[in-house]
Symmetry: C2
Subunit: 382 residues, 2 copies
């Protein structure tokens, strides 16, 4: 899958999704962030509804389960409810959140973030991709800039069904993961500036090599977790080097840093270490360093009553299950700020995700969807 | 200047150059590598001729002196000879060598390399740019694939006038540099392969991060010169990272290594260190490493009689001069294998080259062209 947010491919997936919602007779709303909702009315539509979904956009050359399983899983649950003519007390809605991945328009989860009041709508609109195109323009172009305000409304319970994207469930031999919350995340953009020069005649001691400085910083990032302890993970996923010519000493490097931990103090300590040590590395290498924290979210604790429900339903249905934390960010992190939230995980084969070989066994997909169905029904009848 | 080899910009410069050659009534030849020659007949055209030139292509966002000064300097010398109705014993020719920079089609100096018999013509034709277009196609497209064989003929003396591209002359306060030869060069392409995965849920000890491995290798390259001693320089100028997404552990990195030294044993030792240590770093980081030596040229010693002539002429004309070596590769390195060769250097302000601010004072350009003029006349009358 290569379906970056607000591209033609995203539009195609949205169009198909909307068609499927129509086939179920759901009440469809597209808000001004392009979030798509499909509501099945309950007997008491005035009560806060139950919501479930995830996202249809993917990473570049990503997998076909990440996000998509949470949308199609909720769709399957609603279809089952529909086909069995089951009435619920509360309305149940399905959602496709816009730009969860944040690859084209950073930061991630812009759609749910604006909806939950964490980001400003116009700031989100102004986020630009590498080609300089803004989120607002791109949204307009594919025809998914709705009129409804992207603003939270009362939600009784939000469930997000998702692949684990890590190796834990497979290693533990469990079918359903029950995350108690999501790791805190900090994203940095780092800009290193040195001096370009011909690689041959420039003596080593006269160099200001931005790539060498960046390389030292990348190793520093990778060394943070063992130093900080805890469950901290730290990653440099993206790098741009200029002028990027074989025989020119690089003068500009931009790279990203992604730090995550369940323990916010560990994460903050790691961020402080970066802020302190990167300029020292730069100075040693004759380079200037600019760092920008472009996203920061503390760890998210899910609603304990819903987490317990996921666990109970999984056990009741006979699925082995495991209490854990989510290493990946999810729309659930923002929804959790304004509504009771829980997630349902299923194993990723080999722990692989964000890659083409990302895969989850169909029986696990079914198990997760069954857990979701029963959680939705229980919440909708409260 | 952003005039990569065999682009539309290169064609424009070539067209203008050919027009200037015509204005001098020179005999123009374009060979099958696109090398352009303009010959001014001597009284004894059967004698081996005197040749001078350089290249008109540039680095991406490069300067306007590198290469170009050697072509226009020779043109100015020929114009002066022409306007003063000076007859010479031997013919004098000017040359624009194709693809000296090697940025679009690696390795560098394909035009002079084929002419000197170092590279095979069809192999050169098959070299592809990043878009997959071949040198042969690109040459054909701009209409500079000539019919004359690109094969050396007897040359009595070859002079290449060039900016220093380093800080030495400026630092020494000298106007003319007299290189005794060119450093040996080895170019590597390095491919590191790890495993892509979601940055969040993948524990540090389960990672095979290709960028972290590459970062350690980049630092290793930078540490080679102080370890090896001598005048060795080592540079990583170019890097590509995949999938290059902020929250995916990189699984593929390609980068280049450029090693140079006057002492071939130092250079070879450094290359051996890379060949030995990169796979060790890869193994430690769970990554496979593939290395390809795509270019290797030992150090070049210029013809001592011509080097002495450059020195004497400079002194005679009253220009301070300095004996040195060339850190950068030049077409002279290949021509030197088949004909007596020397170079004439002028200072680069701040030692900057391959960048937009590359500059040389006009009086230094003039001094170099005067030295070239008198060297050409002396050789042509031998």
């Amino acid at each position: 899958m290569h379906r970056l947010a607000l591209t033609d491919e995203d539009k195609q997936a949205r169009d198909l999704f909307v068609q499927w919602l129509k086939e179920l007779g759901l009440e469809i709303t597209v808000d001004e962030m392009g979030n798509i909702f499909g509501k099945r009315k309950g007997r008491s539509p005035q009560l806060p509804m139950v919501l479930s979904g995830s996202h249809l956009d993917t990473q570049p050359k990503g997998g076909r389960f990440d996000g998509i399983l949470g949308v199609t899983g909720a769709l399957e649950a609603l279809r089952t409810i529909h086909e069995n003519h089951i009435d619920t007390e509360r309305s149940i809605a399905i959602v496709d959140w816009t730009d969860e991945e944040g690859t084209r328009f950073a930061p991630a989860m812009l759609g749910s973030g604006v909806w939950a009041g964490y980001f400003d709508r116009d700031w989100a609109y102004s986020r630009a991709d590498l080609a300089g195109k803004s989120f607002g323009e791109a949204l307009e172009r594919i025809g998914y800039r709705g009129k409804t305000q992207a603003r939270k409304w009362p939600v009784h319970a939000y469930y997000e069904f998702h692949i684990e994207q890590g190796p834990v469930l497979e290693k533990m031999g469990k079918q359903i993961g029950v995350p108690k919350g999501i790791l805190g995340i900090t994203w940095f953009d780092v800009y290193v500036e040195g001096q370009a020069n011909q690689a041959g005649p420039t003596p080593m001691n006269a160099r200001k090599d931005a790539l060498v400085a960046a390389a030292e910083m990348i190793l520093k990032v990778n060394d943070l977790p063992p130093k900080m302890g805890g469950d901290l993970v730290a990653t440099v996923g993206e790098i741009q080097n200029f002028p990027n010519s074989r025989n020119i000493i690089p003068d500009r490097v931009r790279f990203t840093v992604d730090i995550r931990s369940w323990d916010d103090p560990f994460k903050n300590q790691a961020a402080e270490a970066i802020k302190k040590e990167f300029p020292q590395i730069g100075q040693k290498r004759g380079c200037s360093v600019r760092m920008e924290v472009i996203w920061e979210i503390p760890h998210t604790v899910f609603a304990s009553n819903l987490v317990i429900r996921v666990e109970k339903v999984a056990s009741l249905l006979g699925y082995s299950n495991y209490s854990m934390v989510s290493g990946a960010g999810h729309d659930a992190a923002y929804v959790c700020r304004v509504a009771p939230t829980a997630m349902i995980f299923v194993p990723s084969i080999g722990g692989r995700s964000h890659v083409e070989v990302e895969r989850t066994r169909w029986e696990d997909c079914e198990a997760g969807a069954n857990v979701l169905l029963h959680c939705l029904l229980q919440s909708a009848n409260e």
